[in-house]
């Protein structure tokens, strides 16, 4: 026993047990349930799904909105990163800020705000009808094109970030070599620049596609009204429909379709990043080839700035305006302004108050538990040579790669009955959401901590052990202090998105156990736009505060 404690093996044992209960068990259960009907093994669910024409329509809808929004995001994201990194466009810092705003705003909040702007009674449609005297709204945000629009707006930032890095890292002598060979600027773009950043474009395409097909908030907020369903919203609907027999099992088999798509995505991503011949050699060259926009400089800057203002700032302004008006639909004039909505959600309405506390507990708890287990697993993966440690790394990364809907469903199926052997039941409590968050986000902790651990040279630990430190003392006195920055950034990497998580919580919440996102979702479903908006603003504030705190801490630790 003493040896066991000294060697630290018991810590590994606890971490593996947690891994088995948190990840492996639910994953097995969801696959198993997809193959059971009326408590017997069968293919009935798949037959039901595959013979139902409406399911094909749902699949088609999912693919349609995801593919089209991915294409739009690519066009906008790549064009923007090209303008920012390779032209003399003005105000690059402001443009970059404008591009990053949508990245901070959860996509379902974006959907809600666009709904406030462009639903048939939205602000912009009202202004349009008032100005032109038209009786019909200009456009309606409901339906596939609205979903595509909001998905595009929410995901072009990701494309921008990935391709911008690629542009920055590309040695511009590749381009100069083409130019001196006689190629015009456009020709250089076509023959050298674009082919060289193609791997980044493709890999961001895969990321955006998988993230969009996994999205629940946007298609539910903008699709339910028109009964336009995609895979995630269909699964949600099945789970809330008690008239269908075996609805959970059918949902499980439908979610396998999502799993399949996500797995193909992971594989593609892996294939693209490991394809050697495409590795772009980076150089020290500091001078980037900058295209002179000449007389178009001001025009293009204004156009892009205006467009970014429209898609980044306007939605936030819309939510802010609604949160400050006495009733949704009133024009935001001085007379109609009030802070009453904030007072109401912060001090009066029980659900909103609860949701804030719940989300803070959940985000804090999930980040802390995931980082705790993550340290042990990351140490195991990077510092031991036990066979199969790569398998651990794969298992840990699996849930995050899958749609939140699948994770939520797996957790429901796993915990709806008390856990075997342990006989604990957490169904219908806050803790089931916590378990799901840990399962989903733990890979972020393992990844960041692993990369910190790799930097800690083995000899440092050997020196500690030679000096007489036990495994645990070595961990506490040497390893942990050295990887602290990685641990803290991993913690925030989980804490911040967990604060605004919707997709998983919407499947797992129960009365009294709402998260902020669930509360916002429910409020806007009930038509209480002012409270929903005020709560959304509080959430955005928390997210930004989290980012600031995280940046401040990492700056302070790095010098």
């Amino acid at each position: 026993m003493k040896r066991l404690i000294k060697s630290g093996n018991w810590i590994y044992a606890i971490a593996f047990l947690a891994l088995a209960i948190l990840i492996i068990y639910p994953m097995i259960i969801i696959v198993y349930r997809s193959f059971t009907s009326e408590n017997e093994l069968s293919l009935q669910n798949y037959i039901t799904v595959l013979t139902d024409a409406s399911m094909y329509e749902v699949l088609w809808n999912s693919l349609f909105v995801s593919i089209i929004s991915t294409i739009f995001s690519l066009i906008i994201g790549v064009a923007l990163s090209w303008f920012v990194s390779r032209t003399d466009i003005k105000g690059k810092r402001w443009l970059t800020l404008g591009i990053m705003i949508p990245f901070l705003i959860p996509s379902f909040i974006s959907a809600i705000s666009w709904r406030q702007l462009l639903s048939p009674v939205g602000y912009l449609n009202k202004i349009y009808m008032e100005l032109t005297g038209a009786t019909e709204p200009f456009v309606s945000i409901y339906g596939p094109w609205g979903i595509i629009f909001v998905m595009t707006v929410s995901s072009f930032s990701l494309v921008f970030m990935i391709t911008h890095t690629a542009f920055q890292n590309m040695d511009s002598s590749y381009e100069e070599a083409a130019q001196i060979s006689g190629a015009s600027r456009l020709r250089v773009m076509k023959d050298v620049t674009i082919p060289l950043i193609k791997p980044s474009i493709l890999s961001s395409a895969v990321l955006v596609f998988v993230s969009n097909i996994s999205n629940f908030g946007v298609p539910s907020i903008l699709g339910f009204h028109e009964s336009y369903f995609v895979l995630t919203t269909k699964i949600y609907q099945l789970l809330n429909d008690y008239t269908i027999r075996d609805s959970f099992s059918i949902a499980a088999s439908l979610s396998m379709v999502l799993v399949l798509i996500a797995v193909i995505g992971i594989w593609l991503q892996y294939y693209l990043t490991n394809k050697k011949s495409y590795a772009v050699v980076t150089g020290k060259s500091s001078q980037k080839m900058i295209v002179n926009l000449g007389k178009y400089r001001v025009v293009i800057t204004t156009l892009i700035g205006g467009l970014l203002f429209m898609i980044s700032v306007a939605p936030v302004l819309a939510i802010l305006a609604t949160s400050l008006t006495k009733a949704y639909g009133l024009p935001p004039t001085l007379d109609n302004l009030t802070l009453e909505n904030y007072r109401y959600i912060l001090f009066e309405m029980p659900m909103a108050k609860r949701s804030l506390v719940n989300s803070l507990i959940l985000a804090f708890g999930a980040a802390t538990i995931a980082v705790g287990i993550g340290i042990v697993l990351a140490y195991f993966i990077t510092k031991t040579n036990v066979k199969g440690r790569q398998a651990i790394s794969f298992i840990v990364s699996l849930p995050y790669a899958l749609p939140g809907t699948v994770i939520g469903l797996a957790i429901i199926l796993a915990w709806i009955k008390p856990l075997p052997i342990f006989e604990v039941s957490i169904y219908n409590t806050l803790w089931i959401i916590l378990v799901a968050y840990v399962m989903y986000y733990i890979t972020l902790a393992v990844q960041t901590i692993s990369s910190s651990l790799i930097q800690v040279h083995g000899s440092l630990e050997e020196a500690a052990r030679i000096s007489g430190a036990s495994w645990l003392q070595n961990m506490r006195d040497i390893v942990l202090p050295l990887i602290k920055p990685g641990v803290i950034s991993g913690w925030f990497l989980i804490f911040i998105p967990a604060l605004s998580e919707l997709t998983i919580s919407i499947l797992l919440w129960s009365s009294g156990n709402e998260t902020i996102a669930v509360a916002v979702y429910n409020l806007q479903e009930q038509g209480n736009m002012t409270s929903a908006s005020a709560l959304s603003m509080v959430m955005i504030f928390l997210i930004i505060a989290g980012h600031q705190l995280s940046n401040w801490l990492s700056r302070r630790m790095n010098g």
Partner: protein
């Protein structure tokens, strides 16, 4: 008229001059090196010639064509130059053949002609067995050759090379140096070669341009550079030098810190009282016995470094230390009393 004429080329970054009043005439077929310490403006000058950096002032003419100045500013793609980059810049998504053929493809040369032309240069740089490969299947030296072939394929009037060998290991560097020189002799192309390595510059160039802080210090053949540097900077930068302070006294000079007096060289006519004298370590002779000549000076060996082909001594003469390099078998231990014989110095 010269083939290339550069007139008072100047580049100012904000308030700093990266290059100032750079004027140079280059003959057809010449091999010119720009040599100087890091940050002296070599790359900036080269990139102004290539068209990647717009000069603040000046004029560049190649052949009869004005490529920059008086309102003209040809784009890099219009200048018809070849260039080899320090990082090679061999495109990773194209095969060796596609890389080399690219300039011709841009010029819309027909397929057959491209093939002929490419195989011709491929042979010249010895890459026959690699044309179908991608750059990541090539070694550094081979990539370097691809870059050279690509620059040569369109038979440019002028070839620009920016530290092309700095990423290679020492052995390969020697080999490529010979190959580049060889290629130049065969093709007759005019070359501007940027380097901070004096050995490269001395061994390859017809003429060297030594720069410091954006200003040309001296232009001349390697021999001129070495034997008659025009200022202290050049003397110090090229080869190794002992600098001694001296005070002129009539027709002789007293070396400061010593009691040594040498006759005033005939070449010295500046009339300055305080002068600096330069002696190359290998030009100073070590002799065993003092034979009372005015140029023979008593000293003692205080440091000794064995370098294989040569032995380097530091000789203490009164309060001054002199580096002396001997190639002969004269192998003397520390503390040996020696006499040295000073050659005629270069004086500033």
């Amino acid at each position: 008229m010269s083939f290339i004429t550069i007139n008072e080329l100047t580049k100012q970054f904000n308030v700093v001059y990266a290059v100032k009043d750079f004027s140079l005439k280059i003959e057809k077929g010449e091999f010119i090196s720009f040599l100087g310490p890091s940050g002296c403006g070599k790359t900036t000058t080269l990139r102004m010639i290539a068209g990647f950096i717009e000069p603040t002032e000046g004029k560049i003419q190649i052949g009869d064509e004005l490529i920059y100045g008086q309102g003209v500013n040809l784009q890099p793609e219009e200048r018809n130059l070849g260039m080899v980059f320090q990082s090679y810049a061999v495109w990773p998504h194209m095969t060796v053949f596609e890389n080399i053929a690219y300039p011709l493809k841009i010029k819309k040369v027909n397929k057959k002609k491209i093939k002929d032309k490419v195989s011709q240069v491929v042979e010249m740089v010895n890459l026959q067995d690699h044309v179908k490969k991608y750059p990541n299947q090539l070694s550094g030296g081979q990539q370097q050759r691809v870059a050279l072939a690509r620059a040569l394929v369109m038979e440019p009037s002028l070839l620009l090379l920016d530290e092309p060998l700095s990423n290679l290991d020492a052995k390969l560097r020697d080999k490529m140096r010979a190959e580049i020189k060889n290629l130049q002799t065969r093709t007759g192309v005019t070359i501007i070669y940027v380097t901070h390595d004096q050995v490269e510059a001395l061994s390859m160039s017809d003429r060297i341009v030594v720069m410091n802080q954006g200003v040309i210090q001296q232009i001349g053949s390697p021999e001129e550079m070495y034997n008659s540097p025009t200022n202290e900077f050049v003397a110090d930068f090229i080869g190794r030098t002992n600098f001694l302070k001296g005070r002129r006294d009539g027709s002789s000079i007293l070396l400061e810190g010593t009691s040594v007096v040498i006759p005033l060289p005939a070449s010295e006519n500046s009339g300055k009282r305080d002068v600096t004298l330069c002696y190359r370590p290998e030009s100073i002779k070590l002799v065993k016995r003092h034979n009372n000549d005015a140029n023979h000076i008593q000293g003692q060996i205080v440091e000794r470094t064995y370098l294989g082909n040569v032995i380097e001594y530091v000789v203490q003469v009164d309060d001054v230390q002199l580096k002396v390099e001997t190639a002969d078998k004269l192998n003397l231990p520390l503390q040996t009393n020696v006499a040295i014989e000073l050659p005629e110095p270069v004086i500033f």
